[in-house]
Symmetry: C2
Subunit: 146 residues, 2 copies
DNA sequence: GTCTTAATTAGTAAAAATTATCATTTAAAA
DNA sequence: TTTTAAATGATAATTTTTACTAATTAAGAC
């Protein structure tokens, strides 16, 4: 995992470079997504920030997530049913392994993906910009409960 | 692409086997998703069915998609922003290449995926149930327009 | 073919997730 | 300090999906 402190600094620099103000609320959100423990949802981020900012508005969370997405500093993991979740620690596309029982998300190492991307580009004549690779299954812990 | 007529028959058989009635509306929806031209959204399916069933309710489309999903006869492609789209012609997980300009969806051939799945299962100790692999890029036609 | 019944439908209300609006506040540069 | 454009909080509006209910209908029994 990338050093969360470095990630916070990188995010702040990017925000400044694009003329965004560094408000306390924004900073708090940046700190949470820089760690991205458990790949939090908007609601989870909201709850966590509210501990320090009880008056925080949900709209502010959405607003900042939108900006961080636009700047490429946060990765959105879309779930067909259920809300999106976010990773600001590794904001580049990477594979996920998701437990359908408890929702845990693990990041596996998969080197062969780049090769695959090239193959697809050649075969389809698309200019590939990004990708999404998620495996859904049952984690070791949830398997033991069955 | 699998023969759409065979797909319709397979879907109907599955529906019957599970005690579902074959209504004209349901049949019309099955026919559309069996072809899945362009990987239609709920709205697209709704519009298309309404040509033959002007009184068709949107709820009916959602209800039948839900049933077909449960029976494994339709695959849901989730898009983080924007609605879901569906493939009832190839209802098993398979890679997609999606044009971010025009929304076109292409199904590339990628054999190496099974091997990847095994690797991930070993590395993470998850029991992998399914997966999702989508590439996003710009198709040949949209590239030529730039 | 007719009858019976449980499933399905249409229409609409409700819920959930996200985005827009706007008056007020505030970060940051002069 | 002062100024100003951007950000916030609160809430309304929008979008997507699900829930509800009375009326309709497919499919099996007779």
């Amino acid at each position: 995992m990338a050093d969360p402190e470095k990630r916070v600094k990188a995010i702040i620099r990017k925000l400044r470079d694009h003329g965004h103000k560094i408000t306390p609320q924004r900073l708090a959100i940046a700190k949470i997504v820089a760690v991205s423990n458990g790949h939090p949802s908007v609601e989870a981020i909201y709850e966590q920030v509210r501990k320090d900012f009880p008056t925080m508005s949900l709209a502010t969370v959405y607003r900042n997530i939108f900006i961080l997405k636009s700047l490429g500093e946060i990765l959105e993991l879309g779930f067909p049913d259920g809300g999106n979740r976010y990773d600001g620690n590794r904001p580049f596309p990477h594979p996920h392994v998701i437990c359908v029982k408890c929702g845990k998300v693990v990041d596996p190492v998969l080197d062969s993906l780049d090769e695959m991307k090239k193959e697809v580009a050649e075969e389809t004549e698309f200019a590939i910009l990004t990708h999404r690779l998620d495996f859904f299954g049952i984690c070791r812990h949830c398997q033991s409960l069955e």
